[in-house]
């Protein structure tokens, strides 16, 4: 029995043990399961981390590789760029040196063709026609080659950024006139009139500038040649006006407020002072710079809107219109670059609907040569013009004003001249066809004789002349410049009513505008019964090549000696000279055979001009400009009738007796009354005395270096004295050759022009006449 219990006990224990074991085993297996799970998880985690790290490393490695690759590529690229830059630089250098040789060879060819021309004409003048034409064509070809070469060179220079601007003094009005005259014959051949429009005359005041004359000439020539090339009928007009640069006015206001803002925002004193300095600097720089706007307008084929932007890109020619035209297409690109170099911009202006053609407009900045005082800048609040208040006293009553009759073939030119004259306050009649000419002349004559009769009466004459004036007033164009006209101040001539002076009737006739016989007949009829107090003068505009052939038919003795023949186009200096014939602008009445006492131009002593108009004339040393062309305006009666400076009082101040003698001789040959002195002090005293006496000196020739008081100081003292009386006597400085620095000082002291010694008759005459014309014109225009 105990064995059974034992066995059962063991069995129970065994069962327990087994149960225990199974529990344990369960546990263990449970734990084992857990452990296995954890283990798996752990392995997974580690694996994941490892994979992440690996991939990270891979990415980094890849990135580094790419960076290295890119760096390498970049370095290669930069090297390649540098190499190509060097290549192109070398190319341009090689090109420049090659072009030097090309130009030398071309110059050689030109020279040799010239020599051939001379030799041919010398040896066999009769049979050399064919040879000459061939040689001339060769010369033309070489010139064209040179032109093309130059334009290619210019483009590459500009691209290389090596184009530099010169700084020389030159005269814009003269340049415009030269360029327009250059293209005028070409245009006339095609039947296209090339006109220089004086516009508002603002360029006249600031015509003397410092800048690059050659480049401006290049720009204008290019635009003009394009205009003439692409126009087959109509006209090409060149216009210019001068303005004070716009930004100056706004900038000065803006700068101060912005700098104040900065100061407040950043509480930084230095910022304020810096911006102040900047604005004052820019003011100083801009104060001497004027903006010039040029316009070249033609009535040709025009440029379609889509192509307008692209014409300025190099090598692009507007193809539809370029059939049969030469040109490399480089021009406008160069023009744009040059304009930008001068600080401006060029563009095509839209025209009105119905008007055809193209209008190019560009602006450039130049510094003017006049000394600009700070007062001018501050006083200039709203004006675009550099103007000064001028008191103008019109001493000529309305009935006696001059009239101009225009009969010009080209309608546009007629309009341009008419507008300019009307701006100046001149009464203008325009005749459009030759049939109307005699009718218009008759009308003028009738009106003149009526007003003459009415005002020759004594006391009621005045009221009647006012009546006439009111009837003629309706014909006049109302202009703001005529505001001061109604003041009729007592003029010395009213004391003697019989010797009243009437205005000039100026007739400008284009000989091509109609059959010459009819025209001359109408003019002769007009002149026949003209009464003694009305003066008339006829200006004949002739073609340059026919030159007086029309008059040979008439016989020169039939034309009165006071008539003028102009064979160059009627604009620019010729226009000004004709206007100067009118008594309001300083002209003297033409002699009428008997000894009429010489009428002095109206004493403009009461005009106040404080800007001195400076015309710098580099004669002699740089003789190519300002050669007085005798054939431009010829007096029909020959140059011997009246000495141009008759009756003018001229003071010569020079310490050198020889220089004095020469100047005296030259001026007296021109008919002037001379008196001279030896140094600046005497000159000043003489001027003061004449100012007190009221006898005006018409011109002073002042030497620069003199003992006791030199020309510079004398000029400044004279200008001071003149201010009190409100006069401005033209002073021309005389310098010997090597006196460059003195010229600036003289200009600052207030001279109006300078000439080199010894005094050359023609330059002197030109200088004086231009000074007189310009002065009157500026006074008229700056109301």
């Amino acid at each position: 029995m105990s064995g059974k219990i034992f066995i059962s006990k063991v069995q129970n224990e065994y069962k327990l043990m087994i149960a225990h074991n199974t529990n344990q085993q369960l546990l263990v297996s449970g734990i084992h399961n857990n452990i296995r799970l954890a283990f798996v998880l752990l392995i997974l985690m580690i694996g994941a981390t490892v994979i992440t790290m690996c991939s990270f490393v891979c990415f980094i490695v890849l990135a580094a590789k790419r960076e290295m690759y890119l760096c390498g590529a970049l370095i290669n690229q930069m090297e390649a760029t540098q190499q190509s830059e060097r290549k192109s630089m070398n190319k341009s250098l090689a090109f420049a040196s090659a072009s030097h040789d090309i130009r030398a060879s071309l110059a050689g060819i030109t020279g040799l063709t010239e020599i051939c021309c001379h030799q041919v004409t010398k040896k066999e003048p009769l049979r050399s026609e064919l040879m000459l034409t061939n040689l001339q064509q060769m010369e033309a070809c070489t010139r064209d080659l040179l032109g093309i070469l130059n334009s290619i060179l210019d483009t590459s220079k500009i691209e290389a950024g090596k184009m530099q601007l010169e700084e020389v003094e030159f005269d814009i009005e003269q340049l415009l006139e030269d360029v327009v005259d250059l293209y005028h014959p070409v245009g006339m051949k095609k039947g296209v009139d090339v006109i220089l429009d004086p516009h508002d005359g603002s360029v006249m005041k600031s015509t003397c500038v410092k800048g690059d004359r050659g480049k401006l000439k290049q720009i204008l020539s290019n635009l003009l040649s394009n205009a003439v090339k692409f126009t087959s009928e109509g006209h090409v007009t060149v216009r210019a006006c001068a303005r004070k640069p716009r930004s100056l006015r706004n900038a000065s206001n803006r700068n101060n407020s912005i700098s104040c803002l900065f100061c407040w925002l950043f509480k930084n004193e230095s910022a304020y002072s810096e911006s102040e300095v900047v604005s004052s600097n820019s003011q100083r720089d801009m104060s001497r710079r004027t903006e010039y706007v040029f316009e070249v307008n033609d009535t040709g084929k025009g440029i379609p809107k889509e192509k307008q932007k692209s014409v300025f890109e190099n090598y692009v020619q507007v193809k539809e219109t370029a059939v049969g035209q030469e040109g490399t297409g480089l021009g406008l690109g160069i023009v744009q670059s040059l304009v930008r170099l001068m600080g401006g911009e060029i563009g095509i202006v839209d025209k009105e609907i119905g008007e055809r053609g193209t209008c190019f407009r560009f602006n450039v900045f130049f510094s003017t040569c006049e000394p600009v005082s700070t007062n001018d800048i501050e006083a200039n609040n709203n004006g675009d013009y550099i103007s000064e208040p001028i008191i103008r006293i019109h001493t000529i009553p309305k009935t006696e004003r001059s009239q101009v009759l225009l009969f010009i073939q080209s309608a546009e030119r007629s309009k341009v001249v008419q507008n300019f004259m009307q701006r100046l306050g001149i009464k203008v009649h325009v005749v459009k066809q030759h049939e109307q000419l005699s009718a218009a002349l008759k009308k003028i004559k009738r009106k003149l004789s009526l007003s003459h009769h009415s005002s020759s009466g004594k006391s009621d004459g005045n009221s009647r002349s006012d009546e006439r004036a009111s009837s003629t007033r309706s014909k006049e164009v109302p202009l703001s410049s005529l505001d001061g006209v109604d003041d009729i101040l007592p003029s010395p001539s009213q004391k003697k009513p019989n010797a009243r002076l009437f205005g000039l009737v100026l007739i400008v006739i284009d000989t091509r505008a109609g059959p010459f016989r009819d025209i001359s007949r109408a003019v002769a009829e007009f002149r026949r019964d003209l009464n003694d107090n009305c003066y008339s003068r006829v200006v004949w505009l002739d073609k340059p090549d026919t030159s007086n052939s029309n008059f040979h038919g008439l016989g020169e003795d039939k034309l009165p000696p006071s008539d003028l023949v102009i064979s160059k186009p009627f604009h620019g200096s010729r226009l000004y000279r004709i206007i100067a014939l009118l008594p309001e602008f300083g002209g003297t009445q033409p002699t009428r055979g008997e000894n009429v006492e010489n009428v002095q131009p109206r004493n403009v002593g009461s005009l106040k001009t404080s800007t001195s108009y400076v015309a710098s004339k580099k004669s002699g040393v740089n003789g190519k400009s300002y050669m007085y062309q005798k054939s431009e305006i010829e007096e029909v009666g020959g140059p011997n009738n009246k000495k141009p400076l008759t009756g003018k009082k001229i003071l010569v101040a020079d310490d050198d007796p020889i220089g004095r003698k020469i100047a005296t001789f030259v001026a007296s040959q021109l008919g002037a009354n001379i008196f001279h002195c030896e140094n600046g002090e005497e000159a000043w005293k003489l001027v003061c005395k004449s100012l007190e006496d009221g006898t005006n000196i018409d011109c002073i020739l002042m030497d620069c270096e003199m003992p006791v008081m030199d020309g510079i100081e004398a000029t400044s003292r004279i200008r001071e004295a003149e201010e009190i009386y409100g006069v401005h006597t033209p002073i021309i400085a005389l310098t010997a050759h090597y006196m460059g620095e003195d010229i600036d000082k003289m200009i600052e002291a207030g001279v109006d022009a300078y000439l080199t010694k010894p005094l050359n008759k023609e330059f002197f005459l030109k200088a004086i006449s231009e000074l007189t014309i310009m002065r009157y014109m500026i006074e008229m225009l700056t109301h």
Binding site: D656, I658, I662, F665, P707, A736, P758, K761
Partner: protein, 150 residues
Amino acid sequence: MEVDQLQRSFLEYTNSLFRFLDGQFGQLQLLQDESNPEFVFEVVSLFFEDSERILNDLTLALDQQNVDFKKIDAHVHQFKGSSSSIGAQRVRNACIAFRNFCEGQNVEACRRCLQQVKQEYLLVKTKLEALLRLEQQILAAGGVIPMLDS
């Protein structure tokens, strides 16, 4: 002598003077015309008178104990002016050199310069006198003084 020959020798002589007389003299000759046939003669005589006076003044001034360089400079400047007005370029150049030495206040050098200037002046004087004589001869023979192209 024939007028043609005279005129030709006149032209040749004028051309040979280009080293002594520059373009200014040509301008003076151009100013002379029928109404003023003596113009060149008058100007040249004036030049001679003026120059002799200045040269005398200069010699005196340089012989002084205390040399007044300012006065000398003024004289030389005047001489320079008149010689350039008549176109005597060698005289003018000598004057320019003279002025430089004046600034240096070097008495000996100034004296030498004065000699130089005198020499140049005498040279140009003989040339001008010869030219004027030729002109007189042409006029006496009934001819016209030929104009030069530049």
